[in-house]
Symmetry: C2
Subunit: 301 residues, 2 copies
Amino acid sequence: MIKLEALRVFVTVAESGNIKDAADAVGRTASAVSMTLKQLEDEIGGPLFQTDRKNSLTALGNLMLDLGREQIRSFDKSVSIMRAFAHSRIGSLSIASVPSVATNVLPPILQRFLETRPQVQVELFDIDSAQVRRMVESGVADIGIAGESRAGGGVEFTPLFSDRFKLLCRDDHELCRLERPVEWSDLSGATLIRNGASDRIEAEEHKRLSAQSLITVYNVTSLVALVKAGLGLTILPSLTMHGAHDGVAVLELADAAASRQVGLVERRDIPPSPVAAAFRAFAVEQIPAMVAEHLGTLNGA
Amino acid sequence: MIKLEALRVFVTVAESGNIKDAADAVGRTASAVSMTLKQLEDEIGGPLFQTDRKNSLTALGNLMLDLGREQIRSFDKSVSIMRAFAHSRIGSLSIASVPSVATNVLPPILQRFLETRPQVQVELFDIDSAQVRRMVESGVADIGIAGESRAGGGVEFTPLFSDRFKLLCRDDHELCRLERPVEWSDLSGATLIRNGASDRIEAEEHKRLSAQSLITVYNVTSLVALVKAGLGLTILPSLTMHGAHDGVAVLELADAAASRQVGLVERRDIPPSPVAAAFRAFAVEQIPAMVAEHLGTLNGA
DNA sequence: TTATCAATTTCAGAAGAATTGAAGTTGGTG
DNA sequence: CACCAACTTCAATTCTTCTGAAATTGATAA
């Protein structure tokens, strides 16, 4: 059976014009090269060089030089593609994330991730937690970032950070004058605006308050606008509030349990592609610190 | 270094869905296949299968299956082209031949030659001996068939057959009544038409007769027409006279030395391509018999 | 023509890689 | 939970390729 390695040797000899130099080039002795050539000629069925001084090719040798070069080039390229893919330097990565993370956390993370992987193709979807899970489950997204869900399904959840809920109200609201974290009892009588995230709060007091609420808003910008307009208060995870807004205040809640777990959502059954695995590792390493930093600046501002 | 053979094993396993069947298919034991796969994974830098039951590929495995299949296909095709060329099943063959051989001898020879080589491309030029030599020397033709020449040049001559000159005259000419081969002396006083081939006759008597000739014709058809019209006699190699012509007779010459050597013309320095070499061998084997047969039927007719 | 010399080939032994068969693991299934 | 088939591991073996020395070849100069 003819081997690609033999073609490599032949091409080197054809290019060198003699065995000795070619032998040096491939790191073998002249005798090894000579034997390889002989074997190649036997297997192909004809002489490749005009004389045993290897400076001129036969017609067969020329054909073999052309075809051999092309085979070598193509093989090496394929191998390099496979290696690049395995080492996640190429490939495609589809991320589904809840908007708070997609907006506040992912941009710098992705930037750093792609710095060493300029050839990787990324898609980023910002959708709510339920849809994140659905996209990952269906394989449309390689990896998801969402709030924790009880239902297992085909996906697995790995916590990354927890994000405490805070109260958002007009800055002239009486609660702002409280010099301490807000208790649920402080809110009795207040008008609460529900949102997609606040339903996750386990506290009975909150559930009761929430049940009385007449308005539900899913978009954070609209939510802030409503609060500002004086239609009520709302309770949101810290991370969803990007930056400060004029006229609204963010107050701490006394209930430490009022927080959401945000983490990675992945398919349980099929292994991630190399890029997805690399991103997963990167995310686990970097996102918690990034969130801490982001929440720090939020509080500081 | 990754080997094409390892890719072959991998592709077989990926297609079989398990190691055992693949091992049978490639004629190895399961353990050899397992080790090859492991080595491949190490060298590529990632797992190719989702589990150690080899029935589902990772993303990397899928990529490798695609690329590997293509590499294998392409390599095998290249090798088969090289082999086909070496065994002269493909390639191109350019033949330059004097018209007598091109017309009377080559057609059946070429047909038989190409019967087992339907992919070979052939070009056939019919030109005079000097030009045959020139075409071979310049490399335009791979092989030539021509009369012998003294000047060596870059070409080599290999005799194939000798072809006696004969006398062509009107069938009402008085020489036809001779019941014996014609002597040069019988021609004194006759009008000779010179032609491209007859100048090669060494005999002094002929040279003298020829010197008196006023007409030279290079085309055989025209030559026959002139003889028929009664403008004179001419002397031609047997093979140039294809079939019988009404009104003209072909007479034997007594001078046995009046013949031309026809043979192969080849370049001395560069080796022939496989097809050319195959044709050369075929020609050496078949042309003499073919000529004998052809001249036999000519004489018999 | 012969002598010379470097390149190449040949050869036998050495080194290295792949393969085998047996034993040990693993993971799925009844 | 035990079984079974598939797979992996390991050490020994076999096969291939490589090396270094010696022989051969062919080009160049004497």
